[in-house]
Symmetry: C2
């Protein structure tokens, strides 16, 4: 159910001529990502027992199967929100007037590409709604928008009168998923794609091979999964299913097979294409010794030719990701044959050998109708300009590529395991307002990709790591550059998060389930209180203390909390209001919050003392109690307009510093706000 929320201001390009009141209505919508243009009308369209959606023209003018299926999924979701929709649609006669008319020119490209027309136009008046699009994909985006417009009232559901003209800012809006470090079953891939469709993301970048395993079945090279997958891989039928499932939702699937580095799984299965070093087993962690492909061996290219050909029959996308990152080249340095080859060719560095490898790879990809994508490291002047670079190093590296004429997509700011806030990721722009790139060069920045690396996630935690934060990035990729109001973004994100849940994602229920499991009880009130104000530390901080691999149990407090929980903003806003002297009520809310922390502490301490899985959280509980005392004392001084004794503030700073120490792989999200509160109390 979507509610029209009072708070926040919609930051969109407001059309000239909007009246003030209409403008305010638009500001209450909860669309995400924001459309290019929204113009409110007067009144609303009832979604009731007369609901009828369909296509204009004769009853025989049927839509293509993809659009028909998309409409059916839409009806199921609308019905869940409103009730009565599926029955109305079932009982409607062809001759009954249409409540929702779909005008879709055609299905779109047989293989979705960068030129796919994803635009749509939606007009809602009190007498009916019309969704027009050039392609199925545009129509599907429009259907998502309609679902976000639905409001439920005492007398039923309706859509506000509105005209929306929408199209994406970037053509490439991706989510990359590593299924190697932890394998994810097809059901997880499916619900990830469902979430992507809600977010209007359109590229699923499937990281299918790495040192730790090979996840794609090859019938030509069966040892890849026999030897190097521990039984965890996708059959060809499953991969075809994923491609079809994605296409049904307007999403391309780009496979990544990471070469010539990150290639231990290839070499364990087929040592003859390796760098000469031998592996007894797959490395579990990324810090363990790894081996690489031999770029000087003709067998390697014959192998890759056959392999790319086989995979091209499964993945119709025009783009093929060859990885290319972090090539250590240790084996290249110690293998005399490789060294001899380099000398002969005049290569001084491994980079030059890798560029040679990529040059040899290019005609192979071309032969199978593919264009090359690689991480930053593939960028080399020796390569032609029709490859694309995915930047994990940052926006500057991306711009440097564009300045040289290479197309690129940005990923560095969108690494989900960095555990950054939605706001930080939302504000990072593939083409910042102050870009130095020329308009022509800017056209080479095709968009971006969110990255979900899997060292620290499993199928129980993945959803809460991806969602809802990816929705904020999806807005960055879709909406105008001028859309930078983080407060309003968060208002809409809270609502979008419920929509993501209702399509099947478990980002809310997953952490709750793990907390019940941790507490050994369905009463997790105390644990929830702690979880609400902490978040996981970044990948690197956790990695410093815990090397996670497929055998690590991801079943501790850090796995049961989420990045950027709402309490961060809420507490900051409450503290701002109190220190500005704006609100008594806010002071009461803050006091009640601190009292909750205080009350939860004894039960939490008992829990951490009883369970080895929570033992490392003990210090965090002590700190929570100390922060509660800091808060309550601060409020008391502020209320009494009295000055605390000398040394009080210093004592509070010690409390804050202690709470900022690393422990249990989690960190508090409220420390800056509490510092501000204590400082205000001390004034």
């Amino acid at each position: 159910m979507k509610r029209w929320m009072a708070a926040g201001i919609l930051c969109i390009a407001v059309q000239v001529g909007w009246s003030q009141s209409v403008n305010q209505d638009a500001a209450k919508l909860a669309l995400m990502p924001l459309p290019k243009s929204v113009a409110m009308g007067q009144g609303e369209l009832a979604l009731d027992g007369h609901f009828h959606a369909g296509f204009p023209g004769s009853p025989d003018a049927k839509p293509d199967a993809r659009l028909d299926a998309a409409l059916n999924r839409f009806l199921v979701r609308l019905d869940r929100e409103c009730g009565g929709i599926r029955r109305a649609q079932h009982e409607a006669k062809d001759s009954d007037p249409l409540t929702l008319t779909l005008q879709v020119a055609g299905p779109g490209e047989a293989v979705q590409g960068l030129d796919e027309d994803e635009s749509y136009k939606l007009t809602v008046t009190p007498s009916g709604a019309t969704l027009s699009a050039a392609t199925d994909v545009g129509a599907m985006h429009g259907l998502e928008t309609i679902l976000q417009l639905v409001r439920i009232g005492a007398s039923g559901c309706s859509l506000p009168a509105v005209t929306i003209d929408d199209a994406p800012r970037f053509a490439w809006r991706g989510l990359q998923l590593d299924v190697v470090r932890h394998f994810e079953p097809v059901s997880v891939i499916e619900r990830t794609l469902d979430g992507m469709a809600v977010a209007k993301l359109n590229v699923f970048h499937w990281h299918l091979s790495d040192d730790q395993g090979f996840r794609a079945e090859s019938k030509k090279f069966p040892r890849l999964t026999e030897v190097a997958s521990k039984g965890q891989f996708y059959t060809q039928d499953e991969m075809r299913h994923v491609v079809a499932y994605a296409r049904a939702r307007g999403i391309r699937v780009m496979p990544e097979f990471d070469i010539p580095g990150h290639s231990s799984s290839w070499v364990l299965a087929y040592p003859e294409i390796g760098d000469g070093r031998t592996l007894a087993r797959l490395p579990d962690e990324y810090v363990e010794p790894v081996v690489e492909l031999d770029p000087t061996n003709e067998k390697t290219y014959k192998f890759l030719d056959m392999f790319v050909g086989e995979m091209s029959a499964i993945f119709p996308d025009a783009w093929f990701h060859i990885g290319g990152d972090e090539v250590e080249g240790k084996g290249w340095k110690t293998n005399p044959k490789i060294q001899q080859f380099m000398q002969k060719k005049g290569f001084k560095t491994n980079d030059e050998l890798q560029a040679y490898f990529n040059q040899r790879l290019l005609p192979i990809l071309k032969k199978h109708g593919k264009r090359m994508v690689g991480w930053d490291e593939v960028l080399n002047p020796a390569l032609p300009k029709d490859i694309m670079v995915q930047s994990w190093r940052g926006e500057e590296s991306l711009s440097a590529g564009a300045a040289q004429g290479y197309a690129g997509i940005l990923s560095a700011p969108y690494y989900l395991d960095g555990q950054k806030t939605s706001e930080t990721m939302f504000l990072a722009d593939p083409i910042p307002a102050d870009t130095k790139l020329t308009p022509e060069q800017q056209k080479l920045i095709l968009g971006g990709e969110i990255c979900m690396w899997a060292e620290q996630i499993d199928s129980g935690t993945i959803d809460s790591r991806i969602w809802p934060r990816s929705m904020a990035v999806a807005e960055r990729f879709w909406s105008p550059q001028s859309d930078r109001d983080a407060t309003d973004m968060y208002r809409r994100l809270r609502i979008a998060s419920l929509e993501l849940e209702s399509v099947g994602l478990m980002h809310i229920t997953g952490p709750g389930r793990l907390r019940r499991n941790l507490a050994g009880s369905s009463d997790t009130k105390a644990l929830d209180t702690l979880a609400a104000v902490i978040e996981p530390v970044s990948f690197g901080e956790r990695e410093d203390h815990q090397h996670t691999d497929a055998y690590t149990s991801l079943n501790r407090l850090v796995d049961a909390v989420v990045a950027d929980p709402p309490a961060r903003q809420e507490i900051a806003a409450e503290v701002d209001a109190v220190t500005d002297g704006r609100s008594k009520a806010t002071g009461a809310a803050l006091r009640s919050r601190f009292e909750n922390w205080q009350q939860a502490a004894p039960e939490l301490l008992a829990l951490t003392g009883q369970s080895s899985r929570l033992s490392d959280a003990g210090p965090r509980v002590q700190q929570l109690a100390a922060l509660a005392a800091l808060g309550l004392e601060s409020l008391a001084y502020l209320d009494a307009h009295s000055i605390p004794p000398a040394g009080w503030l210093d004592k509070q700073k010690v409390v804050l510093k202690d709470a900022a120490q690393p422990s249990a792989y989690v960190r508090f999200v409220c420390l800056p706000a509490l510092e501000k509160l204590a400082e205000a109390a001390a004034k």
Copy 2:
């Protein structure tokens, strides 16, 4: 995580010679279903970084693939509880001593049947655990028991020293699932089977056809799903997958194809085997006109012969359910050809014609190696004694069958849509202690089946309708007849419920998700407060007011609450304690509960006023507030030892009577306790 709970007494056949203290330890275990015999030992076995599970004998003595997979699933679950288990197992050398030794004589029957030896013996000492079983199935039951024994403490996980000797009381312990009235995807079937394995249930009875649809793909008769499934059916590959998935968990799959009644889907697709009446479309509801098979037509038997043969290749189980219930026979009465046939045969009633049909069916089933199962109505002296009767009419009807020499299973008390308490279902015994059956006749009672009919459920609500209540029935089917302590059953059920969640069931998260969707917010505290004290009314009461079918939106308050919520018992216990004058603390808990109701009421009223989906819940909210006032006033009088004014109790009775009125398809679970409280206050 399993906690050793202090409350409750374990009701098991206590072995002679147990010391009192050991006996008390056993009483703290949370095993469910209760084993046949449990003897506590001294000390515990650590489950730590030295954990190593395996099979005795040479390293080459590998278990069969089914047992190996079961052990792997066990390790994943144990690892989730304890951490470090998978790594320890991964790093253990074959020569390292075994922490858990599995001694399994053999895989068991190639097709699991009634004679499968499901027993196991488990011995845990501080130096190691040994699980012995004759078959994989017995071993899998033992592995479930081990998981229930795990306790986690400050220093890690352990198993208590214990000796368990276990075997089921009944060989047939089933769950019947209707996938016709609402279709369930394979993922739901899978997690239902996972839950059944936890509950040691061993028969999945798959109700695959009915008037409203045909859910099993037939390649011989493709129109069955083309015409009569609306696209919602299982492919043969999917059915084979379900059979394999079930077998991997020690569960048989018995298909049901309901004939000659409940057969509209057959006849819509193939009118030539019908009773002569025609159908324009599938009936949506069970109250709509239906048609039946023609038992007088030789084509019917040729059809069924081919069909049973085709399905027998998919379902290896020895038993085949032919439905046979609720044959209206309207078409039989109006079809002159059928009437002529009956006259010729001397049949006076439809029952006789149905018995003829079943007699004709028997050799067909036999030919394909199947034995016949049918609902009560198949019972007819004309039929041989090797058929089996599933009683939906009750234990007396079952006993009557047994007295005539027919084998049977009980289902009547275990209809989940009756929304009865776990306690009521738990206490209903297929062979009650006061049975009049001879020991020989008792042997004909093979067990029972829980029934989940699907008119009022969908894939979002099914888990919370089946679980955790089915666990209580599963204990009835497995554990000794003398196990009748409902208080201790509930203690263990709360813990088992978390285990069911951790294998993937959504009986806790599903209703929570729907409440967020109803509230349009992730803050559902007020709605949760109401939901905690109400439950769905029975199938019949809901059906009186709402005819649900596949087009009904199951998205209202009734769908977001569960049968027999814990608050029913909790409030009853708190009221008992207060009225007995036993506990001041309990009075405070009760007061806090009533205050919560009072506080939630305004927010709930606002919600019900805002959303058409909650509008019917308005009266319930008013009643909640009135019950809160009743509770608080009662406590005040009791506290003050003062007598309420004349007429006060009468006024409260009006409040209670009002709250007992039907509305919103839900009912309060606390009315008897509140009546007791008010009466005590008035004394």
